[in-house]
């Protein structure tokens, strides 16, 4: 139990973990080394050499304008904000109904959510494509929003788990005072579900930010490009200009890593809940 002192065993543990950390940081650090190099500097030096200056932000500026990253960030953010708000509202609503009331089709509703979770979304895109097309959502930002809006079995389970810990006596006390069921949802259930909501907001944000498939398939218009697809577009034009690509990749990668570092607690809570269910 005195592992804090440097026993030889824990030295070995640290050494092994450091090897893993180096292997994980190796690819991104190559990007960091080269994103700050000018074109000539890149062609004349080894990829492992430090840049002349870490203050040379020119590549980042170039990428921002040429890859239209400002637009991509804005599109991604729009989708995230609308879809996540909708997601939280719908998720808490479904959980409130399933967690607090008994009705005939309750098992069917939960069963439907479980059933579709068995079908990997990516495999049904051939058919979903037709639906999106018929709803005239193809090549609009709503395609992405609507497809991310619906709640899923994982979120319902996370919410239900928290809901069971909110004592029913709170509901009953409010009912004694004549509060409507909607009021109970709005003033008691929804606020008390905040910890679960925080987890879902973070997980969903990461999910949407990293999504490539839906925007690629349903929003091919240049002006609708999100972070993932704008990087793909940029690469198809300039994959040989490494110093620019390095900067571009970093600009796509870093924001979500920062979100993760700040909110890691919620990320881990979501992952663990999702897997162990």
């Amino acid at each position: 139990m005195n592992a804090v002192k440097l026993r030889p065993a824990s030295l070995v543990q640290h050494a092994i973990l450091w090897v893993a950390v180096v292997l994980i940081l190796f690819p991104p650090s190559i990007l960091v080394l080269n994103a700050f190099k000018s074109k000539t500097e890149f062609s004349q030096t080894s990829v492992f050499k430090l840049p002349d200056s870490f203050l040379n932000f020119e590549n980042f500026g170039t990428v921002m304008t040429r890859a239209h990253l400002d637009r991509a960030y804005l599109n991604t953010l729009t989708i995230i904000v609308i879809a996540v708000i909708g997601n939280v509202l719908l998720g808490t609503m479904v959980a409130y109904i399933l967690g607090r009331f008994d009705f005939k089709l309750k098992k069917t509703v939960l069963g439907a959510y479980i059933a579709v979770s068995f079908v990997p979304t990516i495999t049904t895109q051939v058919a979903t494509f037709t639906v999106v097309h018929n709803l005239h959502l193809y090549n609009t930002i709503w395609a992405s929003i609507v497809l991310h809006l619906g709640t899923n079995v994982l979120q319902i389970f996370i919410y239900l788990q928290f809901l069971h810990n909110i004592p029913r006596e709170l509901d009953e006390a409010a009912m004694m005072e004549g509060a409507s069921l909607f009021r109970i949802y709005r003033t008691i259930i929804f606020p008390l579900l905040t910890p679960a909501t925080a987890t879902i907001v973070i997980i969903k944000t990461i999910d949407i930010y990293n999504d490539m498939f839906i925007p690629y398939l349903y929003m091919p218009a240049q002006k609708l490009a999100v972070v993932s697809t704008s990087l793909m577009n940029f690469s198809s034009e300039r994959s040989t200009e490494w110093e620019l690509m390095s900067a571009a990749i970093l600009m796509i990668m870093v924001p979500i890593v920062v979100v993760y570092l700040f909110f890691q607690k919620y990320v881990f809570a979501g992952i663990v809940n999702g897997a162990v269910k």
Binding site: L17, V116, A127, F129, M253, I256
Partner: protein
């Protein structure tokens, strides 16, 4: 005003109001596409013309007769090999971090980080690691005199799936680790302390006491890996486009190409239904196995 309605009525109204939109979304974008997919799999359709022709099981016959499609599963098998290794590593690091090691949370945050990175960015990043001429990996190999090993990683039919499998491991090892770690932390510390008191070494405690307590989670992780392997798509799609000459095609890249490149939606649907069936069979086996364990 609603306060004056009886709770029984309120309940009925609320159930309908609150479930309306979520169920509509579920029906439109999950249930209906799944059923429509089955319907399409019996049709011959190019994806946009109003004409669909009934072809019965013709698409399925084509899928099952097409050797190229089934050979892609051999590529998925390579990913499975890397996936098993990834699981072993995940468990190993979880065991390492399930101690009072200094800075263990920082290590956990680091090792898990690749999982939350943008997949497209990760793909292009590794494009520069494994590029044959200027890639950092080959530069590294050449600098230590291993020039003969510095091959064209994405250009070699033998190497390409292993490179992609390695990148998958790099990205997903942390996920396995975090799940294992959560399971390990739920093993009651009394059992572990008792074993230690009885003189069991750390290794013995891990192998004989801790592992038997998390068999279910090991199994879960293995099935997650198998299903993840069947659904490999992004990496080959972005990095190699299935090349060289289809050497890195997976079942899903082939399916998506069949639909959106060759406009054969019927056949693509039959392929999707086939894959979904396989996934469901794997999941059912897992359910069955889990039940058997817990009995």
């Amino acid at each position: 005003m609603i306060d004056s309605i009886s709770y029984g009525r309120q309940k009925r109204i609320l159930i309908i109001l609150f479930l309306l939109v979520p169920i509509a979304l579920l029906a439109m974008f999950a249930l209906y596409p799944a059923l429509y997919l089955v319907y399409l799999s019996f049709m011959s359709w190019d994806g946009f013309s109003p004409e669909k022709t009934w072809v019965g099981v013709g698409n399925y016959k084509d899928v099952f007769a097409n050797k190229e499609i089934w050979e892609t599963f051999l590529h998925n098998l390579v990913y499975l090999g890397w996936g098993l290794f990834q699981n072993a590593l995940g468990l190993f690091f979880a065991l390492l971090l399930n101690s009072k090691l200094k800075g263990r949370n920082a290590y956990r945050v680091m090792l898990f980080m690749p999982y939350i990175m943008n997949g497209v960015a990760v793909a292009y990043m590794f494009n520069y690691v494994f590029n044959s001429e200027y890639g950092s990996f080959n530069t590294l190999l050449r600098s230590v005199g291993l020039d003969s090993l510095a091959i064209s990683w994405f250009g070699s039919a033998h190497a390409v799936n292993h490179v992609l499998g390695f990148i998958t491991l790099w990205k997903f090892m942390g996920l396995n680790m975090v799940i294992y770690l959560a399971a390990l932390q739920s093993v009651p510390s009394e059992i572990i302390e008792a074993a230690r008191m009885d003189g069991a070494s750390r290794l013995q405690t891990s192998l004989r006491v801790v592992l038997p307590n998390i068999t279910k989670v090991i199994e879960l992780n293995l099935f997650l890996t198998i299903i993840g392997t069947l659904e490999i798509f992004d990496l080959p799609f972005i990095l190699t486009g299935g090349g060289p000459l289809g050497a890195s095609d997976t079942f899903l890249t082939k399916t998506i190409d069949t639909a959106f490149k060759f406009n054969n939606f019927g056949m693509a649907s039959a392929m999707s239904v086939t894959l979904i069936t396989i996934v469901i069979v794997v999941l059912s086996i897992q359910r069955f196995a889990t039940r058997r364990w817990s009995d």
